[in-house]
């Protein structure tokens, strides 16, 4: 009787081990997909206003283009904020290294503009709503290494479902 009980327990333990290994494998697969292929992001806030809504859009972003360096002016990207590393912000790339960028310094009060050359290994990012956006105009060009992903598709809200590419004017 005791022997049979032991056998039962053993098979139960093996089964549990197998199942948890399967779950672990699935989680690893999820992590790799999320880190190297494609990720989901919820964007909110006023900084990208005509393009992305104020109250939260669900977007798909792919991680391959930043990795192989195929990010150019006009792309909407997810960037780790240089001011607070725990936040990821959504902005539009205006210039890559070597480009000269002209920007309005303080659009609310004056239309004085300034021109700078983006340094090597950096990108210049701005929000579409220049009146209410914390971007390169405030903290300067950001290193390319902070670039996380390139947004390519909007999922929610349903009426805006579709690709999200270059600037819609």
């Amino acid at each position: 009787m005791g022997l049979r009980n032991l056998k039962q327990w053993k098979s139960f333990a093996i089964e549990a081990l197998n199942q948890s290994f399967l779950v672990a494998k699935f989680l690893c697969f999820l992590h790799v997909t999320n880190t190297y292929l494609c990720t989901v992001a919820l964007t909110y806030g006023p900084s990208m206003l005509p393009t992305l809504n104020l109250t939260g859009d669900l977007v798909l972003a792919e991680k391959i283009s930043p990795r192989i360096g195929k990010v150019g002016p006009g792309d909407v990207v997810l960037v780790r904020s240089p001011v607070n590393p725990r936040r990821v912000v959504t902005k539009r790339v205006i210039g890559i290294e070597g480009d000269s960028v002209t920007y309005v310094v303080d659009p609310k009060n004056s239309d004085r503009s300034d021109t700078i050359v983006v340094p090597k290994g950096h990108i210049w990012i701005e929000g579409d709503n220049i009146y209410d956006s914390n971007d390169s105009r405030k903290f300067g060009a950001v290193p390319y290494g902070l670039l996380q992903a390139k947004v390519f598709w909007r999922v929610l809200p349903p009426k805006d479902f579709g690709p999200l590419g270059q600037r819609a004017k």
Binding site: K25, C28, H31, V32, P82, P85, P143, L146
Partner: protein, 170 residues
């Protein structure tokens, strides 16, 4: 008929191992070799040996610190270079946000901005660090070096210490 099956299961096993390995090295810890002498004598103290080439140190890098981005003075960190995102550098954190850093050559004092840190190599003679490119965003940091794991005679913990003669927080 049988060999195809064996190949298939072998490929599946490799795939699984790769998946798990990649996850662990991304989220928990990984081992990287140290090149160059910018962190000597902490890493690679002796580059010119009898044979002309030496064994590079391998170090253990933990990634748990990336959840909160909390670092302390003297931590040795791995980060991607601000001027070339493909290049990884290993340096020591000298200043955290809000600190005032004095640069030894020019006599001005720089404030480290919010969300940035000041990094320097232990070997101040040959090191590309914040003295040349300024403070770096904390978001570039990739992990914290905790141990030396190779070569065997140098296995041990990497201590968190500040170089002498540098002032940091006021």
């Amino acid at each position: 008929m049988g060999s195809g099956n064996i190949l298939w299961s072998l490929a599946k096993n490799y795939f699984t191992v790769g998946l798990i390995g990649l996850t662990i090295s991304d989220r928990y810890a990984s081992v990287v070799p140290v090149r160059g002498t910018s962190m000597s004598p902490t890493f690679n103290p002796q580059t010119s040996t009898f044979w002309g080439s030496s064994i590079d140190d391998c170090v253990l890098v933990e990634k748990f610190c990336l959840e909160k981005y909390k670092f302390s003075h003297g931590d040795v960190v791995v980060f991607s270079s601000p001027s070339n995102h493909k290049e990884r550098l290993i340096k020591r954190i000298i200043g955290l946000p809000g600190d005032w850093i004095g640069t030894p050559h020019s006599h001005d004092v720089v404030k480290v901005p919010e969300g940035h840190c000041w990094v320097e190599g232990d070997n101040s003679l040959s090191s590309m660090d914040s003295k040349s490119f300024g403070p770096i965003p904390l978001g570039l940091i990739n992990g914290r070096v905790t141990h030396i794991v190779w070569p065997p005679q140098r296995i041990g913990e990497v201590e968190t210490r500040m170089p002498q003669g540098r002032f940091s927080s006021f």
